[in-house]
């Protein structure tokens, strides 16, 4: 196997391992659009990174966290529905990011690689980033797993039972921001949410408890990444979209797998 291909596969698997379990919460808590909004804002983070001459991943995480905080503040003040707020923030931040990047004339940025990912160009440094972020995020997720689940089931009940609701929710937002930053390289900001929600949604058919669903989502994500990369290599497809399509194929064939499993019994 070629080096770049191995790196691409490792990067994809690293992202899938954390995106699956975290995606389960995105699905349970109906945060798909929230994830999308943060992802769209990521481009602004990239621009910020270039502007301040800091690591773009860091720029993305910072912008995502700021946006998440802004959103929480707006939710408490505004009377607009949540999805309206998200829609406003999602598209205005994406446009601001595009404008900011357009201003940097001296810089030649491959916009497409940010929008749709460039997994075949993953470097060793990227790999370190991806795996350290994924490992850290997984550890944090395991620590907050039980309280986060309690909040997801009933927030006020959890609060009365002593769960530090605000902190746990902030931690979840932070995790989503980190995952978006590292997944940007793999599938691009326009497709990141799919890595969060498609594997988790696929896993639902097979899972009997929350933990199973999280582990299965990680596994399904890995299969999707491998399948997508294979298709990309075999038929010269753009890698990011190929990964998403392969995840979608898994999702739509899940009922069929389930039927097969039942028939065997």
């Amino acid at each position: 196997m070629d080096d770049f291909l191995l790196r691409a596969l490792l990067a994809g698997i690293g992202v899938a391992l954390i995106a699956g379990p975290l995606g389960a919460f995105v699905v349970w808590r109906k945060m798909a659009y929230f994830g999308d909004t943060l992802a769209h804002a990521a481009l602004l983070g990239v621009a910020l990174g270039f502007l301040l001459d800091i690591n773009t991943n860091l720029g993305v995480v910072v912008v995502c966290i700021l946006l998440a905080l802004l959103l929480v503040a707006m939710q408490q003040k505004q009377r607009l529905a949540n999805d309206t707020l998200l829609g406003i923030l999602s598209h205005s931040t994406l446009s601001m990011g595009l404008i900011a990047l357009a201003f940097m004339e001296t810089l030649r940025i491959d916009l497409m690689s940010y929008l749709f990912g460039d997994i075949l160009a993953v470097s060793n440094t990227d790999l370190y980033w991806i795996f350290s972020c994924a490992a850290l995020s997984l550890i944090v997720l395991i620590i907050i797993w039980r309280p986060l689940l309690a909040i997801t089931v009933h927030e006020e009940l959890a609060r009365v039972e002593g769960v530090p609701v605000t902190w746990v929710k902030l931690a979840l937002m932070l995790l989503i921001a980190i995952v978006i930053a590292v997944a940007m390289k793999v599938v691009g900001i326009l497709l990141i949410t799919s890595l969060l929600i498609i594997p988790a949604a696929t896993a639902r058919s097979f899972a009997r408890n929350p933990e199973q669903m999280a582990v299965l989502a990680a596994a399904i994500g890995c299969i999707a990444v491998s399948g997508g990369l294979f298709a990309s290599l075999e038929w010269d497809l753009p890698a990011g979209p190929a990964i998403v399509v392969s995840a979608a194929i898994l999702f739509f064939s899940a009922p069929w797998w389930l039927k097969l499993k039942r028939a065997k019994k």
């Binding site: 699905v27 349970w28 109906k30 039980r146 689940l149 309690a150 997801t152 089931v153 009933h154 006020e156 009940l157 959890a158 609060r159 009365v160 039972e161 002593g162 769960v163 949604a201 639902r204 899972a207 009997r208 408890n209 929350p210 199973q212 669903m213």
Partner: protein, 264 residues
Amino acid sequence: MAFAPSVKTTNMDNKILIEAKGISLALEGKQILDKVDIRLHKGEIVTLIGPNGAGKSTLIRIILGLIKQDDGQVLLAPKLRIGYMPQRLSIDPVLPLTVRRFLTLAQRCSESNLVDALTEVGAEQLLDSAMQTLSGGETQRILLARAMLRNPDLLILDEPVQGVDVAGQEALYRLISTIRKRHGCGILMISHDLHLVMSATDQVLCLNRHVCCSGHPDKVRADPSYVALFGNTAVLMPYNHHHDHSHNAHGDIIQNKHKDCQHG
């Protein structure tokens, strides 16, 4: 029988669990609660009744510390363990969750504790059922079991019989009564209907933003402000009637159906 009309009685179970005074809250210019007082003792069942929008749930949420009142203060007994049963629980089918997992979300507990709690609420056969397959009454029982697992000094139940058929409502109130007897915990609950809750409660607080009337259920039922709220006419009359008394000297908590106790 002589009952002291004040709080200071010699009753052993007289420890005050909740003491809230002058609770007021306005939301978006609308007064939700206006100088509400409430007091609850150990082993006592207090029921909040009142029409929709009367502020019953809001009062409970203030006592639980979930929202902040504009005015007034809530004092809870030190180290009070509260078991809370929220009004609604809807778990999305996308979250695979069994009753067992639901009960252990807040705290780990042993298998025998789990079985005991479920047996107490009459739902031991549901341990491994998916939460989403439960009926209204079953869900309420599971919620009650989760509250009981905390071994509470105080149970706060927000419409415990919601979504339960009439026969089931009676059974549930009986269960709540039994739990109080067995564990000696105080219970604060919300109900829409005084008739069913009658036998299970020591004190009723009729709430319509302010406390319209309070006391033993028999007495509240005869109160003009209660009749105005719940009588045939169903018209809200601006009748401001304020009883400031409590009944904590009902003695043995089992006997909450005294016909001979006249309060005033």
